[in-house]
């Protein structure tokens, strides 16, 4: 029994607690340096060499916060919190809420903390002034403990509740730790990239201690539902100075369960959605490299060739013609041709193409979409907003199947059409006039049981520390005594903390209330 008590006292010891806190801090430092956490063994070998990597691995320096020693220490801290609270709190409670002798005793009067003043004010006036003083110091009520003709005893108290701060804070810590361990052991977190219009019903877990998706195929987590990204879009700042600066990004998602649509939501940065215990975050985005939408312009190539021939004829004539009258006429014709070509393009029919479409229909001819991409020259440049889009279509004509590229840049598009389309007998030049990239939406998905305990625990901790530190338990015992027309004031202040400033404020302020010029302390 005695032995147990000793262990108990040891575990609840403040010095041990402080030791734990400092050690925990030092271990946290180990996990927050340049040694990146949660990498694979191979990465450490590459960065630091074989031997250092071995040390890192053996000492868990690659994953300090999930190491056995870190977790053990947290358990020990939790234990110390519980034991010290049980050991200490009853006494603290009693000293605040237990019985207090409210009358200043002779012994207290002799204490070195006692302050003594003498004022020429009569007793009743001095009493009033002292009441005023105590009210101004934040005491809500002043008790007259005993009142005789020439003697009055006062007692005032405030902030008893401050003493509960330690208990409340420690309870909060325990609640929080329970929540944190639940999250740590049963929580999962990962990500998935879903292209617009597609479904996914699984995500890739992050490597432990890292925010990178795991490479291990076992770390693919099946969801009890499927997510479809209907649409993804970017929001931009409405600002002249910062045109094109991205303000936010959004996905319209659908949750499907057992083949049925159950929920439709928009997730944005800073605005996740919850479903079935999982939380779905808008984390990143990117381009798939596909064309989501394109507006195609269809030009009658024979008409265009005809027009081009006329233009070049007139141009030639313009260069050789000397007669100013005829020159004027030629210029007029040229203008007319220019207008005609503008009309040819502006009135050419437009057709829409959407990602996934199998055919493009041009004046009754069905062109099969073979392929499409945002940048056929260098697909990597797409993420820097450099595009060279192409849609490759194929058709059969005169028993021959051939491909035609649909391009955006006329300088490339026209010769290409000439070679692949017109040469094979297809009459319509198709070009990309406008297009939009297809995005994928990067979603983070996590499930952390115990999150509510985290909030509850931490709110309790904040309340507890505020209780402990923003309120002060204070008491004053006062005796007023009338002697030879003067009033003697004996005051014993007690302050659980900030004693110095409390004493100081009494020493500087009380004489003013009592009308004493020179601070007279006996």
């Amino acid at each position: 029994m005695n032995y147990l008590k000793k262990i108990f006292a040891f575990l609840g010891n403040v010095k041990l607690g402080i030791f734990y806190l400092i050690v925990l801090a030092i271990l946290s430092i180990l996990g927050s340096t340049y040694i990146k956490q949660g990498e694979t063994y191979f990465v450490y070998v590459r960065e630091y060499g074989e031997d250092a990597a071995k040390i890192i691995w053996k000492l868990w320096l690659n994953n300090v916060f999930h190491s056995w020693y870190y977790q053990l220490l947290i358990v020990l801290v939790g234990l110390a919190v519980i034991v010290s609270t049980i050991e200490r709190f009853p006494n603290i409670y009693l000293s605040a809420y237990g019985k207090v002798r409210k009358k200043l005793t002779k012994n207290q009067e002799k204490s070195i903390n006692t302050l003594k003043y003498e004022t020429s004010l009569p007793l009743s006036e001095a009493l009033n002034r002292i009441k005023e003083f105590l009210f101004d110091k934040g005491f809500k009520k002043v008790e007259i403990v005993e009142q005789k003709d020439k003697e009055v005893f006062l007692f005032a108290e405030k902030g008893k509740i401050s003493r509960l701060g330690m208990l409340v804070t420690h309870i909060g810590i325990i609640v929080f730790l329970v929540g944190a361990f639940m999250g740590s052991y049963f929580g999962i977190r990962g990500q998935i990239e879903i292209p617009e219009g597609e479904f996914r019903d699984a995500f890739i877990k992050f490597r432990e201690g890292s925010l990178q998706p795991s490479m291990d195929p076992n770390d693919i987590v099946k969801l009890p539902f499927a997510i479809k990204v209907n649409k993804f879009w970017l929001d931009y700042y409405d600002s002249k100075e910062f045109k094109g600066a991205i303000k936010s990004f959004n996905s319209e998602i659908e949750i499907w369960k057992d083949g049925k649509l159950v929920e439709k939501k928009v997730v944005q940065v800073n605005n996740p959605t919850d479903f079935g215990g999982y939380r779905i975050f808008q984390a990143s985005y990117g381009k798939t490299g596909d064309i989501k939408y394109a507006k195609l312009i269809v030009v009658d190539y024979t008409k265009m060739l005809d027009l081009m021939k006329k233009v070049s004829d007139v141009q030639k004539a313009l260069q050789t013609e000397k007669d100013p009258k005829k020159l004027e006429q030629l210029k007029k014709i040229m203008k007319g041709l220019e207008t005609e070509s503008v009309v040819l393009f502006s009135q050419a029919p437009r057709i829409d193409y959407y990602y996934g479409q199998k055919y493009i229909e041009v004046n009754g001819t069905k062109l099969a979409v073979v392929n499409q991409t945002l940048n056929y020259k260098n697909p990597m440049l797409v993420n820097q907003n450099v595009y060279d889009p192409v849609i490759v279509v194929s058709l059969e004509k005169n028993g021959k199947r051939f491909n035609i590229p649909i391009l955006a840049d006329p300088n490339v598009a026209i010769p290409a059409f000439n070679q692949f389309g017109y040469a094979n007998g297809f009459k319509y030049l198709i070009m990309i006039e406008e297009f939009e990239p297809r995005y994928f939406s990067g979603l983070q998905i996590s499930k952390f049981p115990g999150t509510n305990l985290i909030w509850l625990g931490t709110i309790i901790v904040v309340m507890g520390t505020m209780l402990a530190f923003y309120t002060v338990h204070r008491r004053v015992w006062i005796k007023l005594e009338e002697q030879d027309g003067k009033t003697k004031v004996v005051i014993l202040p007690y302050s659980q903390k900030f004693k110095e400033s409390f004493d100081e404020s009494i020493k500087t302020d009380l004489p003013k209330y009592l009308g004493i010029d020179n601070q007279k302390e006996s």
Binding site: S124, K141, Q147, F281, I459, E504
Partner: protein
């Protein structure tokens, strides 16, 4: 005796004077703000620079007071510091309005420059409160030069207002960052008081200042300046980190020797008990705020980053700071460590705070890396 009841209740005091003063300050801020916005003649950065200059003057006045103990200088020092504070407050308003006019409104505490303005501003607020509460100005001689340095040095960084990245666009930005900086400010005051305590202690004990202390003081100071410059401007690599570790050890060495060498200053400092209590008060005011700031960050992360906690460097260092000050509080209140031990824990905690603020922003890659410029 007119009172027959044995319990007396307080009367409401008058707040008129205080209200008038606040009104006067607010109308000054309002006037300068509208002048800046309407005239387009000056902007927030100029006002920040002016406030830095005024802080510089205030620092000189505080040091003058510390040496010569002239009451007039003391009043002037406080007045100057307060003037700098008011002008800096105005600059924040103007910066906010300017951002709004650009169509990219965000509160003025989102990048390194803004935080280097905001942190000294809040610290000054806390300091002015403590100066009033404890009626002691000696700490100002240590504190105000640091404020002046930070505000002036901050102008080395990009002062432009730029749009926020999407993840930062949240109402949590207001409270989380505000709470963090309030914590930074309070812990900084605690550090100042602790250092003063250590100096005072050596002064009261009248320890002998051995030549080795003076040499150590001079050598570490001489090394600190170039090393500090290298670390603060260096590349974000492992070499800089190792230099950073050396810098921190050197800083501790310097502070250790400083507590001896600066012994003569001890006479001008308030009593040890008072300094110890100022430390406690600053820490205990800041601690719940710091705790709240970590939690608010967690709540934000739970909406933006996929989890309430990601073991991100900033989060870890915030936790480390929390642990250090929790250790201090336990030692100070239950362990009754009023003196040296508690003071050194605060000093160590403050160095952790510096890493949390500068170190993480400048060197550790992580989720909080937007605060680099």
């Amino acid at each position: 005796m007119e009172s027959t009841s044995s319990v007396l209740y307080r009367k409401r005091p008058s707040y008129l004077q205080g209200a008038l003063f606040v009104l006067a300050v607010l109308s000054f801020i309002g006037f300068v703000t509208s002048a800046a916005i309407l005239s387009h003649k000056f902007g927030n950065v100029l006002l920040f620079q002016i406030s830095g200059l005024i802080y510089g003057i205030a620092a000189i006045l505080y040091i003058t007071y510390f040496i010569f103990k002239n009451e007039k200088v003391s009043k002037l020092a406080t007045l100057t510091l307060f003037t700098g504070w008011v002008i800096q407050s105005t600059a924040f308003f103007i910066r906010g309005i300017e951002a709004y006019q650009m169509g990219i409104f965000h509160p003025p505490w989102t990048n390194l420059y803004e935080s280097l303005m905001f942190f000294p501003w809040l610290a000054t607020t806390v300091y002015l409160y403590i100066e009033r509460e404890y009626k002691t100005k000696a700490i100002g001689a240590f504190f105000v030069p640091v404020v002046a340095f930070l505000v002036i040095w901050g102008h080395k960084f990009n002062t432009d207002i730029s749009p926020l990245m999407p993840a930062l666009r949240s109402y949590w930005l207001y409270i989380h960052v505000l709470a963090s900086f309030a914590g930074y400010a309070g812990f900084t005051v605690a550090f100042g008081a602790s250092l003063a305590y250590l100096i005072k202690e050596n002064a009261e004990k009248d320890v002998k200042v051995k030549p080795i202390y003076v040499i150590g003081f001079i050598v570490s100071l001489a090394l600190l300046i170039p090393l500090g410059y290298t670390v603060l401007t260096g590349a974000k690599d492992i070499k800089t980190m190792i230099l950073g570790i050396i810098f921190i050890i050197l800083l501790l060495t310097f502070l250790y020797f400083a507590t001896y060498v600066l012994k003569p200053l001890g006479r001008a400092l308030p009593s040890r008990n008072l300094l110890s209590e100022i430390t406690l008060k600053a820490v205990t005011i800041s601690f719940p705020i710091w705790t709240a700031s970590i939690i608010l960050g967690g709540a934000w992360a739970n909406e933006a980053w996929g989890s309430y906690w990601s073991w991100d460097p900033k989060e870890n260092w915030a936790l480390i700071v929390w642990l250090f000050f929790a250790a201090y509080i336990h030692g100070r209140t239950i362990g009754k460590w009023k003196g040296t031990k508690a003071s050194w824990i605060v000093v160590a905690g403050f160095i952790m705070l510096l890493i949390c603020y500068f170190g993480v922003n400048l060197y550790f890659p992580g989720l909080h890396s937007y605060a680099t410029e």
